[in-house]
């Protein structure tokens, strides 16, 4: 999975990698073209690149989210669709209630263990290309409720997440910011080659195993092929 980095080392400064773009404008690949992209350009020829751009433009401007709210963040998600924030400006106001017509799953709120299998099922029901935004602390990591016995500590244990939006709940603007990040990510996707979009890679999974309700916990509690957390930064030099 591409969104996993090598294990976190406590000493290294995390500023080495460009982790986030400045607020508001564009995203990682919005404006200038990087060297690798220029190389691609040369290889593919201009026609394919133009088609690629058209393809990315079409998809990035027509992200229909699944009408699917879990908890508090869902209210801010609805607020993002209301007049003040108006997610429609990005062409994303068409919240489809059926997963078959949705492109984006905004996991907005606490995913409980009782709910988790259903979230995975909804994700499996969505047609490719599909994207997932984990909105809010609970969806990312369990958030304030992570100590709970019935709370899944992050939806990325079961399905791949493209964008994480922290906050409890994130402001509607933060969701819009996450959406622009996602748009930039989609625009930067390629149709072929090693950097091709996830859904175009032959070996990438589109459906994920749905955990069963067990006697004490979900079975399995997370998808080991997907969720590979780095060793905790506290693993060495334990404090007592």
């Amino acid at each position: 999975m591409s969104n996993l980095t090598p294990p976190f080392s406590p000493g290294a400064s995390p500023q080495d990698e460009p982790r986030r773009s400045p607020a508001g404008e564009g995203g990682p690949a919005a404006g200038n073209i990087s060297d690798s992209e220029r190389e691609d350009l040369r290889q593919h020829g201009i026609l394919l690149t133009s088609l690629e751009e058209l393809y990315g433009w079409g998809r990035s401007n027509s992200i229909w989210p699944l009408q699917f709210g879990l908890a508090c963040c869902a209210i801010e998600m609805i607020a993002a669709a209301t007049a003040r924030f108006d997610i429609a400006r990005f062409g994303a106001e068409i919240f489809r209630p059926s997963p078959r017509q949705a492109d984006l799953m905004i996991v907005s709120g606490t995913v409980t263990k009782k709910m988790a299998p259903l979230v995975v099922r909804l994700w499996n029901q969505m047609p490719e290309p599909k994207y997932c935004i984990a909105m809010g602390a609970c969806a990312i990591s369990g958030g304030p409720f992570k100590q709970g016995y019935n709370v899944l500590k992050g939806i990325d244990r079961l399905i791949p997440v493209d964008i994480y939006i922290p906050g409890c709940p994130p402001r509607p603007e933060a969701l819009l910011h996450g959406l622009t990040e996602l748009q930039a990510k989609i625009r930067a996707e390629h149709v072929s080659g090693p950097q091709a979009a996830r859904h175009l890679q032959a070996d990438s999974a589109s459906e994920f195993p749905i955990p069963d309700y067990g006697a004490h916990d979900l079975e399995p509690p997370h998808n080991p092929d997907l969720f590979k957390p780095p060793a905790s930064p506290r693993a060495e030099g334990l404090k007592n």
């Binding site: 500023q15 607020a23 924030f85 990312i140 990591s141 409720f145 996450g178």
Partner: protein
């Protein structure tokens, strides 16, 4: 008569439609990426650590690693390791400092309790919200370098509170200096003047 209610409704929506072209009360959209929201000074989203000096943020951190916030944080998203050595703080008093200060923004619920319980005005709430990341393990765990922001930034986002805090700290500093002076004077009168450990001036 049948239909009058429906016609009234249509009239209201028509009024809103027309109003959306000329009445700002009926066109409330703020175009976010182009227009940044006007955040009130009290807005709180994720904590940051106040440092006195922008050029040497790690050296002038107000935090003394007392770990009260770590204990009080309801979702336990703060992790602090005390330093082994001590550094002089703004008052010149030797204090511990956090060797590690991590906040997991993937967990933080911005409840502000860490700010409320902090006796040193060292941790304050930030205004940043656009920090979406593609990797939560490295992208959302903030360390002390990322958390440290200068006092000038604090003044920028919350002028009233920052001025109040500065005033309070200045008063404390003055009191401390007075005390130190008095102690020094006492010691001077005692005529066994060894340089007191806490006698150095505040390193700004």
């Amino acid at each position: 008569m049948l239909g009058s209610g429906i016609l009234k409704g249509l009239a209201v929506t028509a009024k809103n439609f027309v109003g959306s072209y000329h009445n700002p009360a009926r066109m409330v959209t703020q175009e976010y990426p182009d227009v940044q929201p006007q955040l009130p000074a009290n807005y709180r989203n994720f904590p940051f650590l106040v440092t006195e000096n922008a050029t040497d943020p790690m050296g002038t951190m107000r935090c003394v690693a007392c770990q009260i916030c770590e204990k009080e944080c309801p979702p336990q998203c703060i992790y602090i390791e005390k330093s082994k050595d001590k550094k002089p703080d703004a008052n010149g008093k030797l204090q511990l400092y956090p060797a590690v200060f991590d906040i997991d923004t993937a967990v933080c619920m911005s409840c502000q309790l860490c700010v409320e319980v902090c006796p040193f005005d060292a941790i304050k709430m930030d205004h940043v919200f656009a920090i979406a990341a593609t990797n939560r393990f490295s992208g959302l765990l903030l360390n002390r370098e990322e958390l440290a922001k200068p006092n000038t930034y604090f003044h920028e986002i919350r002028p009233d509170e920052a001025a109040e805090v500065d005033g309070r700290l200045a008063a404390e500093r003055a009191a401390a200096e007075e005390k130190a002076k008095a102690a020094a004077a006492a010691k001077a009168t005692a005529a066994t003047a060894t340089k007191p450990a806490t006698g150095g001036a505040a390193a700004p």
